[in-house]
Symmetry: C2
Subunit: 498 residues, 2 copies
């Protein structure tokens, strides 16, 4: 096979692979948003078949040959082509090692397990989900034993979301956060707590939906390529950079919940909407890693969304729409309510300060599951124990405990640490951004056009051209969690008058 | 290949084919309901790829051999297996004849053309849709020239929705309706018209949505396997009998519009939900033909939904929800409003009596397009001319004219005559049903459980085991449009006091 033939083969491969991925993605989105309950079995069969085709495609001798040919001659290729081949070569080497039956069983399990999780959460019935969860961990571990036999399987899991991440690095990172954040929280707990009961009055869904549209306008998102839907657990998904979707969940007694879900998911969406055109429909299109992705979503959620400039910006809209609820709320008190820091039960609704501790619980549990120190049956009790230990809260039931997140039911094991790492990247990115623009002024203008443009120029457009570490260092230099802990200390000391 | 090997091959084929069909179906549904506008190009590429895979699958030498083996030995097979093979053999023979490039181009054209139609309708801009529409007719005709070279291409188009249907039969059928219905309409036009302005007051969408849910309850539909969505043009789709979906469109100034869309589409949905379990995931699952399908949907819409028993049943709900709008409306006047017969512009909102004349316009235009007597450019004017001639109405613009239906943009050419034929089947089915149950009493009970059970037993459960004509004759004997014209004459003579 010549290089030209191999390039043609590769082009054909990308077309079919994109089509299968696209179809499966739409089916997942449909399942999460509207599909009737009884459709799970049929969908599992279809997803199993499509995943089987994907597997055939990715492990075909022809594909192997074209990758080998191009990998050997990668120095002759353009930078984009070379990076593509490097990524594919690595993915291919891994995929080859997974037995096909294991791979299709895994796809079917994910789909079924997700449906069971939805029901289990609704019914607060961990027992019905437990066997699926155990199988999900077992199968994930088994897959890594094939793809990364030389690695610790949990390191392999971490790596699949953030290349280069290890348990050691995580242990150090969380230790650093614990040393700074836990004492900060203690000091805050000695002060008078902010009363945010206004945020828990009744906010009808229809008006919250209007509010979402207003937020999307502020984020300056192109509606031609974007929709917002409703699911149990908010997420972002994209099929091409021309079709990016977020979802939210409206709680009528918690205004900040959907507000910050929308801003968070819009951060993910903006990244996907603005990866380089030349990378579209290649494996390099889309965000490079989970931590970089979370650094963007949490940049919007916290550094932008929970800043005083932002709460001041959205205050008049809320004051008008919810005049009764907001009758005694001024701008400053709204800003403080939004930033009330208090250990709580639900990760996605946690405040900026205590958030990482929620992640730490999940990290410890994943590690223990992988080590075999515990099984799925132990998770509800271990969950309660660690929440008490790290956050000081009593978990009343599994719905508000181990069943709260969709990640494990979908097989996203090893994903959680990226959330904390992503949060920690933010303040360092802010520092660089502020050399060129004043973010508070940009926010006050009512449209994040210039902020978006800066992130597009420095991060988004590169897609997967660089590894996450290369990309971060290109923008910010070496990662140092001190920027993050300093940022939190400064912000919350001011708010609580420490 | 032995018979056993061929049966295994067939089973594998059905799995992959169902998976591809399922994925494509979900993508169409997604496109019609929620997908962002900018997603059309990416979706067209994916659908093109999936259709290409389907084509490869359906024309593979292995598949050919397994069908040939089984077709030769069909007398040795069970009735279900034999019917399956007969259907597949016929489909296979046709599919083989279509050049692959034509087939995939057609799939891509359908998808693009549908997106353009949506925009064209919105903007009332026929010119932007015209080239797509012309290509859609040309390509459809070209496909039939390959699959049915011996047939007149428009006969072939009619056949693909109703096996055995020809232009001659259609010409005769429409002639019969014209001779009875046109004079009936003339007599009605001499009487005082029913005032239905109440139905055109403001009916907020949120309350209409509640009303839809109430109607679905009356229809006794299992919600585990059913959802309702919103689209420009209402339709029904199904992926398995466990996942059946209808859509509607809410017009706030036309209460009856979504009401009868919902009842109509629920008729389609019930048929799909109740085909035999043993046919699930085979090519025999699902309704047998468009005319039989329409006979079910229009049975629910008209014979049930526009009966006095039904309008009496739903009257209290409407009186309560819309007390202001309904303040001067009694049951009898509501029944009459619902059955106001008057030539109008929009097919889907036409009354029971004039409906077939809308179909006749489309039939004549399709016939002329196929004959090459006219091109897409002529359609808007021809449409206006025929509406004046048959229905006596002036069509003010293309949005309310030739752009109103989605069928042509989706390639459903030759479909329309089934609507009229399906309507005409209804009264003959009613006659048989009423030998075993009193439909008016069943409706008055508030749940159509027994009516559904009768149709399931006599029609739905058979799926595609019999041809449409066999099935109809099994239930009703020979088709005779006189039952239909008699039914209309009796009903509308009473309403208008003729």
């Amino acid at each position: 096979m010549t290089r030209e033939e191999a390039l043609l083969k590769l082009e054909e491969f990308e077309k079919v692979s994109n089509a299968l991925g696209h179809a499966m993605g739409i089916m997942y989105y449909d399942a999460a948003t509207v599909a009737p309950k009884g459709s799970a079995q049929g969908r599992a069969e279809t997803l199993g078949q499509l995943a089987g085709m994907m597997y055939e495609l990715e492990t075909s001798p022809e594909h192997e040959e074209s990758i080998e040919v191009l990998f050997k001659e990668k120095e002759e290729l353009s930078f984009v082509e070379r990076r593509k081949i490097e990524e594919m070569h690595e993915g291919f080497e891994k995929m080859k090692k997974i037995p096909k039956e294991l791979f299709t069983s895994y796809q079917m399990l994910s789909s079924e397990s997700d449906a069971v999780w939805h029901e289990a959460k609704e019914k607060n019935d961990f027992a019905m989900f437990e066997p699926y969860l155990q199988k999900m961990f077992d199968m994930t571990k088994e897959i890594y034993s094939y793809t990364d036999p030389e690695k610790d399987p949990y390191d392999a899991a971490l790596n699949s979301y953030e290349k280069g991440l290890t348990k050691e690095r995580c242990d150090e990172f969380f230790k650093a956060l614990r040393e700074k954040i836990v004492p900060l929280i203690r000091r805050i707990q000695e002060k008078e707590q902010i009363d945010d009961s206004v945020l828990h009055l009744n906010y009808p869904k229809a008006q919250q939906e209007e509010f979402s549209e207003y937020l999307i306008d502020i984020m300056d998102i192109n509606r031609d390529n974007f929709i917002i839907g409703e699911t149990e657990h908010p997420f972002t998904t994209n099929f091409t950079k021309k079709d990016v979707r977020i979802t939210t969940h409206y709680h009528e007694n918690a205004l900040a919940s959907s507000l910050y879900s929308v801003v968070h998911e819009c951060g993910h969406a903006l990244y996907e909407l603005h990866t380089g055109d030349e990378l579209m429909n290649t494996c390099l299109g889309g965000g490079v890693s989970m931590a970089i992705h979370e650094s963007q979503s949490r940049f919007y959620e916290n550094i932008i969304g929970r800043s005083e400039a932002f709460t001041n910006l959205i205050y008049p809209f809320l004051k008008e729409k919810f005049s009764e609820q907001f009758k005694d709320v001024d701008e400053k008190s709204f800003y403080k309510m939004i930033n009330r820091a208090e250990p709580s039960l639900i990760r996605t609704e946690a405040d900026e300060l205590t958030y990482s501790l929620h992640v730490m619980v999940r990290y410890e549990l994943e590690k223990a599951m992988f080590k075999g120190e515990i099984t799925a049956k132990d998770l509800p009790e271990m969950w309660k124990k660690l929440y008490k230990e790290y956050l000081g809260v009593d978990v009343p039931d599994d719905k508000q405990g181990v069943l709260q997140d969709s990640h494990w039911s979908n097989g996203n094991i090893g994903y959680f640490p990226s959330y904390a790492l992503g949060s920690a990247y933010g303040p360092q990115i802010l520092l660089e951004m502020e050399m060129e623009l004043n973010l508070a002024e940009e926010i006050a203008s009512g449209k994040l056009t210039k902020g978006n443009a800066w992130l597009e120029e420095h991060i988004w457009k590169f897609g997967c051209l660089y590894t996450p570490t290369e990309l971060f260092e290109k923008v910010c230099g070496k990662f140092d969690p001190t920027y993050y802990t300093d940022y939190l200390e400064k912000k919350f000391s001011e708010i609580y008058g420490l």
